[in-house]
Symmetry: C2
Subunit: 348 residues, 2 copies
DNA sequence: TGCGTGAGCTAAAGCGCTTGAGTGAAAAGA
DNA sequence: TCTTTTCACTCAAGCGCTTTAGCTCACGCA
């Protein structure tokens, strides 16, 4: 309890070796389940290690070629954009669950943009800091896969589309296109013909996928009054765009929002214009969270298990670190949770 | 772009030494701004290093006693509790800003509870993984300061009260008591006599501080119908507690919520019971976010700059790592942003 | 001329761990 | 009985960096 560090010395393998009366190498063999020591010795060494509270120094491990036992995660969003968001904490929490079990650390960094993010990867690689990384928010024209491939840094892209151009990277993705198609299908069945999609950031892979899927579905059904508008995911833009589309001569009867925050803001904006939900206009949020049950009416939402998404991604990365092949795995299509914000289209 | 890692070799000091025609030690001196080399050589070495894209291996650095260049951050909350939350991402984002500038990494982990969190600290210490940690959610009876003090791990406690018992730890705190006093002051002035405080998790230091401050202020003014009820911060409990207190024979005329999520849920719950805000009951959220402007009426809220809070904490930690003394710094008292959810008390 | 001095550099050890190349003794085979 | 194999273990090098001690040479000074 002194002001200056008492700094208890960490036990090293040398300490164990001395106490167990064997050489350091024997200790290494014993502790790493490698052949070369008898079961008796192995047990003794293990006991001594336990007793001393020994843990391998990651630094030393890393230096002797074992990797840093750490995984990197960069969030490239300007600080002020990180508003109310449940997705990332949940995702990270799922990632953790898997990593912690293997005593892998998670190095976390927020960056301003993708360019800075690339710099972080380079630095991490050069500093020998991470064994692999998890990449989020993939873009349609994304420099990161090329970079990571070039550095030979194992990586899992979260939320990207299958990418044949980078066979070294794993991908974990949700079928946004399928979800969008099913969603439009449902809306169509209930009479909706004019649909507005308040999308997220342009350039994000999943934003583009949803937009394309919506357009394709509209064409297939011959719907002409279907549109997508991109935003920055903020409540402000969500509200603004909502007002804009609803003030048109023939306003949409259904609004699909790319996140919960905009959906909530949109409902308020609609109410402000005298539209009531769902009788005048139906609302669906892409992303379910407590938010959706905090407003009246409760919002119908596409729900996915973000924690599980994180677990899956982390599992793929560990597989990659173990020398496994890169894979592309699809997580379940988000399910539509019907609450009170969706109903039949109002008769024209 | 091959399937198996091309694994470009990282340049080491040896490479630089060879290219610059000097010894490794000279390179070390040159690159660390230590005396022992001429300016000419220093420049040459620097140029070669730059050209090779060299970065020191953190592993090697750590091993030769320089520390891991990494800071730890544990969030001890069960995964499902990590709902809609703006505070932590903002906090972390502020922390990052300061750390990144010094090329310090942030090792992030979520744990189930404080006990597991202590285990993480022990492991990090033994594995030589971090040079210091940031501790959040301090409790009234907290084992962490003792542990960290014992390990000699530099630490900054975020949101704790000044702690004379652990002179080795820095503390960054907000004056919750002062804020609460001012808040009650304002409510009192507008005629509120019956106040309910829907608090956060019991046992958290700031929860207790707020509760105590409220009680003290109530006693000072002779208010008898003032109460605090603890919750788990969730919208569900926020709503439930709101219903309970409003159904009392003499319901409160003002509700103070310890976070924005509960406040929003509380407004909805109040509406469900026929109470309108603010004419029947005033509502204040402790923590401002986009959420507060997503509901009608817009919520009055105590606002603080969480990003700046993070910056301050990280700055204190780096000071500690540089060998500076432990300090206790207070961040500005949260400001009340008056919106539409507060008004004069209804006449009895 | 000799000697101390300091600037500029090199050699080498050490941090904690892994690992391939030994070593010595017991067990197995001829 | 002697060789070969196997087993259990030790030695020593090496990972990339820091750091201490030491070495060399030019310079200043008596």
């Amino acid at each position: 309890m002194s002001a200056k560090r008492p700094a208890a010395r960490r036990p090293t393998m040398k300490d164990i070796a001395r106490r167990a009366g064997v050489s350091e190498s024997a200790v290494s063999f014993a502790l790493n389940d490698r052949p070369g020591v008898s079961e008796v010795t192995r047990d003794r060494v293990r006991r001594v290690a336990e007793q001393l509270g020994w843990r391998p120094s990651t630094a030393a491990r890393a230096l002797s070629g074992e990797g840093a036992a750490t995984v990197g995660f960069v969030l490239a969003r300007p600080a002020h954009t990180l508003g109310v968001d449940s997705f990332f904490l949940q995702l990270v929490s799922g990632i953790q669950e898997v990593l912690a079990r293997r005593h892998l650390g998670l190095l976390f960094q927020v960056a301003e943009d993708v360019e800075e993010e690339c710099g972080v990867y380079r630095r991490w690689w050069a500093e020998h800091r991470v064994d692999g990384v998890l990449v989020v928010d993939p873009r349609t024209d994304d420099p990161r896969p090329d970079l990571l491939d070039g550095l030979g840094l194992p990586a899992v892209v979260i939320g990207g589309a299958p990418d044949e151009r980078h066979p070294g990277l794993s991908t974990v993705w949700a079928d946004d296109a399928g979800a969008m198609t099913a969603l439009v299908d449902g809306l169509f069945a209930r009479g909706h013909r004019r649909i507005a999609h308040i999308a997220g950031l342009p350039g994000l892979a999943h934003t583009e996928r949803r937009i394309r899927a919506l357009r394709a579905e509209a064409e297939r059904r011959g719907l002409t009054e279907v549109q997508s508008v991109t935003t920055d995911y903020s409540d402000a833009e969500g509200a603004a765009v909502t007002r804009r589309v609803l003030e048109a001569p023939a306003p949409p009867t259904a609004l699909v929002y790319d996140n919960d925050v905009m959906a909530v803001a949109g409902v308020a904006a609609a109410a402000g214009l005298g539209f009531s939900v769902p009788s005048d206009v139906s609302v669906v949020a892409w992303e379910d969270s407590a938010l959706c049950r905090m407003v009246k009416p409760w919002l119908s939402a596409l729900s996915r298990d973000s924690v599980e998404f994180g677990r899956t991604a982390a599992t793929e990365l560990t597989a990659l670190l173990d020398g496994g092949p890169a894979r592309t795995v699809r997580v379940p299509v988000p399910r539509l949770i019907e609450r009170d914000s969706t109903g039949p289209a109002r008769r024209a």
